[in-house]
Every structure is written in structure tokens, then in C-alpha cells.
């Protein structure tokens, strides 16, 4: 290739990038605080083998500046809420006068909890999310009031619990007693809701990488939740995002904490098995 054609090639590339016609996920690696290595793409779990080969974090679908914010805790606005939750972790609440730390120790002792949730809880006889587990602790161990499912206290605490598991692979169980709930979640994932008749899969399985108006469609992975969104400048709980997505199909949505969304969270979580826990992540 001579100089002229090289120059022309570079020029053409610039034009293509500028026009937004190229919308592939970027080729980039995420290391947080120059220390925590995050798996942002890996082989798809076996249960997805007939629909995709590789699973990818939403981080790869965001712009350079947004990606950079997640590389350092001082630049990640979500970490402010992690600090707030750390204070709450160590503060007694409720009639028993206990804090989270009184039973669980340091918050870092909870490393490894986030990657396996939602999970079937034997004592409860049902699949539970972290939010449900936290409220169970508050009500039954601390004698404290339940937190609102997607309220600030709750989303902050889930951010703390995600943060101490960052870098660990998502490993949600889909078989055994969780299987029927997982199947329910899968049905919901593929159901075309609302007047626009859109399923999760229409956008996040069939069209990831494509632009829908100004939005770059990702695989809709949830390993990065809760997510600090630049759009609303706050931490967003995963089921709040589900609610927004289904609302945007012109459907009657489901409520955060509903059995339908618990099932959907289990199923979507399992689609990211093998990706690293990344919360609190930073997104558009």
C-alpha cells in the first residue's frame, strides 16, 4: 500500500467513524483502579449457545469518556453512593440495635455474594434477589423497617455489595430449584410486549451493536448494575431499568420487586454468566 492509498484509507476510516455508520462494540479492556481486571467479553454460557457465541458488557458499547469514568473510583460518581452505604453498613438500626457489620463483619466480607444472586433460597422456598435478602435481614434480624425496593437506601446498599465483588465472574444458578423461575424469566425475555410488540430479544439479542436513533444497542447485560447513568445522574437499579424498557414498548409494565421481574432478573443475570461483576458501572 503506498502512502497515498494509506492516507486515503485513514481518511475514509475517519469519515465512517464520524458518520456513526460503524457501531461495533469497541476493542478495549477495563481495569479499575489499575488493579481490578474486569472481563467485559467472554464465551457465551452454554444455555445461549444457539443464539450467540460471545457475551459482552454494556461498557464496550459506550463512548470513550463514559468508559474512562469507570476506570477509576475517583471518577466514578456511583462510588459516592457506595461510600454512603458503607456508613449505613456500620450503623445500628431497628429494635435489635444491630448494624449489618455486627453479623457480617466488614463489607468486604460480602465478596462473592453478588455474583450468585438472584438465587433460590431454601428457607424461603423461592428465588430471591439481593434486595429481597437485604429486606429480610432488616425485618427479621434487625427489627428495622423494610427499604423501598428501588429507593436510594436500597440501591446504595446493592452498589456497596456489588463493588466488593467487582472482578468476580457472574455465576447465577439456573438449574435445580431455580429452574422453573428461570424458565418463567426466559418466557418474559422473549415475549413481545406492548403496542410496539417488542421483546427484550428484539433489541438486545437480534440487534446489539446497531443504532436505534442515537442509542447504541448493547446486549442488555446486567453485570454492571446498579448503574450510574449520566442521563439521570443517579444510581439505577436493574429492575427500574426493566420497568423503563417495557414501558418504552408502550406496554403496561411490571413493578420492581414483582415475581415477573425477579424471574426476569434471574434469567438476564444468567445470560451474563462469566462476565465480571462491574457495579456500580457508568453508562449513558
Amino acid at each position: 500500500m503506498n502512502k497515498f492509498t494509506k492516507g486515503l484509507g485513514a481518511c475514509m476510516t475517519a469519515i465512517i467513524v464520524a458518520s456513526g455508520a460503524m457501531a461495533e462494540p469497541v476493542d478495549d479492556t477495563l481495569v479499575i483502579n489499575e488493579e481490578i481486571e474486569i472481563v467485559t467479553r467472554t464465551a457465551a454460557p452454554a444455555h445461549l449457545s444457539d443464539v450467540m457465541d460471545e457475551v459482552m458488557s454494556g461498557w464496550l458499547f459506550r463512548g470513550e469518556e463514559t468508559r474512562a469514568m469507570e476506570m477509576d473510583d475517583f471518577d466514578n460518581p456511583g462510588m459516592i453512593f457506595v461510600e454512603q452505604a458503607e456508613d449505613v453498613w456500620n450503623t445500628a438500626d431497628g429494635t435489635e440495635g444491630k448494624s449489618c457489620a455486627d453479623c457480617h463483619g466488614e463489607s468486604t466480607e460480602m465478596a462473592g455474594v453478588r455474583p450468585v444472586y438472584p438465587k433460590y433460597v431454601e428457607a424461603a422456598g423461592e428465588v430471591r434477589t439481593m434486595e429481597m435478602a437485604i429486606n429480610d435481614c432488616r425485618e427479621n434480624r434487625m427489627g428495622a423497617e423494610e427499604w423501598k425496593y428501588v429507593g436510594n437506601d436500597m440501591v446504595n446498599m446493592t452498589a456497596l455489595l456489588a463493588s466488593v465483588s467487582r472482578g468476580m465472574p457472574v455465576n447465577v444458578a439456573i438449574d435445580g430449584p431455580a429452574q422453573s423461575t428461570w424458565e418463567q424469566g426466559k418466557d418474559i425475555y422473549y415475549t413481545r410486549f406492548g403496542q410496539l410488540e417488542l421483546s427484550c430479544s428484539n433489541c438486545h439479542e437480534d440487534n446489539y451493536g446497531n443504532m436505534i436513533r442515537a442509542d447504541h444497542l448493547s446486549q442488555g447485560q446486567i453485570n454492571g448494575f446498579p448503574t450510574y447513568r449520566l442521563k439521570n445522574t443517579k444510581l439505577n437499579a436493574v429492575q427500574d431499568r426493566f420497568k423503563g424498557c417495557i414501558r418504552d414498548t408502550r406496554a403496561e409494565t411490571f413493578a420492581p420487586g414483582s415475581p415477573e421481574f425477579v424471574a426476569l432478573e434471574l434469567y438476564v443475570g444468567s445470560r451474563g454468566n462469566g462476565l465480571s461483576v462491574e457495579g456500580p458501572s457508568v453508562r449513558n
Binding site: N202, D206, I212, R213, R250, E252
Partner: protein, 157 residues
């Protein structure tokens, strides 16, 4: 702003439903996905169709399709095929069928059905997330469908 949009939508709804001659969404006759008969009997207006195609609050076709003839509309999507040359590739009847209910021609397509008012799962009240309040209007009126078809027919290579 919101109120004026709602008022506009209401007035559009009222004015279109006033035409008793419109073919109702459930009465549209598809042959291999195409619809021969005009839904209104009134010729479509290409300029009005271009507006429907580009407006977020109306058809918003550009969310998924590129249209080179409308360069002022930013962020055209790439979910569906480019609409360039659609007037060469498809007959008017085929265009009408695709815009009204693309699933009749392309089974399982992601494309929403713009002239349909029943058969939804958990239909909502627009984008509120709440349940639909009674019967739904189709996403576009019969005349808006005709206008979009008229515009698409002008897109020749």
C-alpha cells in the same frame, strides 16, 4: 409543551376518526402482505408523509431506517434496511401492507405494526407504563399511513 402535544394528538385522533370511510384496522385485506385498496380513498400527501416518517412523536421510522433524502434528520437508525429506493423495490400496495402491518409480509419482523389496534400483550397507555385506558388507536391514522406510502413511493434510486 406536553399539553400542546397531547392536545394535538387528541385533535388528530378526532379529525381522523371522523372519516367513516376509513378502512378499520381489523378490516384491512392483505394479499401476500400487500394491501391493494387505499385505506382512506384520499390520495396520500408525500410532504405530510415525510413529516410522519421523521417525527419522534409520529412514525419515527428513522429510528430504525436510514433515508438519505432527509439529511437534516440526525441519528438515523440502522435496525431495518435503508429506505433509499423503496419506491423502486416495492409497489404502492406492497408499501401500504408493510407500513400498515409488516408482519403480514415478514413473519416475526421487529417492525411495529402501525395500523393495528388489537392483539397486544399488556397494552399500555402510550409511554406511561400504565395499562391502556380502553380501546387503543392504531399507532398511525389511516391517512398518515397513506401519506407515508406516498412519500416512500417517491424514493427512487
Amino acid at each position: 409543551m406536553k399539553i400542546s402535544i397531547i392536545a394535538l394528538a387528541a385533535s388528530v385522533g378526532l379529525s381522523t376518526s371522523a372519516y367513516a370511510a376509513d378502512v378499520a384496522p381489523t378490516a384491512v385485506s392483505y394479499t401476500d402482505g400487500a394491501v391493494e385498496m387505499s385505506l382512506t380513498g384520499t390520495a396520500g400527501d408525500p410532504a405530510a408523509g415525510a413529516k410522519v416518517l421523521g417525527s419522534r412523536s409520529l412514525g419515527n421510522c428513522v429510528a430504525c431506517h436510514e433515508v438519505s433524502a432527509l439529511p437534516d434528520i440526525a441519528f438515523q437508525g440502522m435496525i431495518g434496511p435503508s429506505l433509499d429506493g423503496a419506491g423502486d423495490r416495492w409497489s404502492e400496495a406492497e408499501l401500504r401492507g408493510i407500513v400498515a402491518n409488516a408482519k403480514m409480509m415478514f413473519e416475526g419482523t421487529i417492525m411495529p405494526s402501525f395500523y393495528k389496534d388489537t392483539g397486544y400483550i399488556r397494552p399500555g397507555n402510550a409511554y406511561t407504563g400504565k395499562a391502556a385506558d380502553g380501546a387503543l388507536d392504531p399507532l398511525l391514522s389511516a391517512q398518515q399511513i397513506e401519506d407515508v406510502v406516498a412519500y416512500l413511493a417517491t424514493l427512487k434510486d
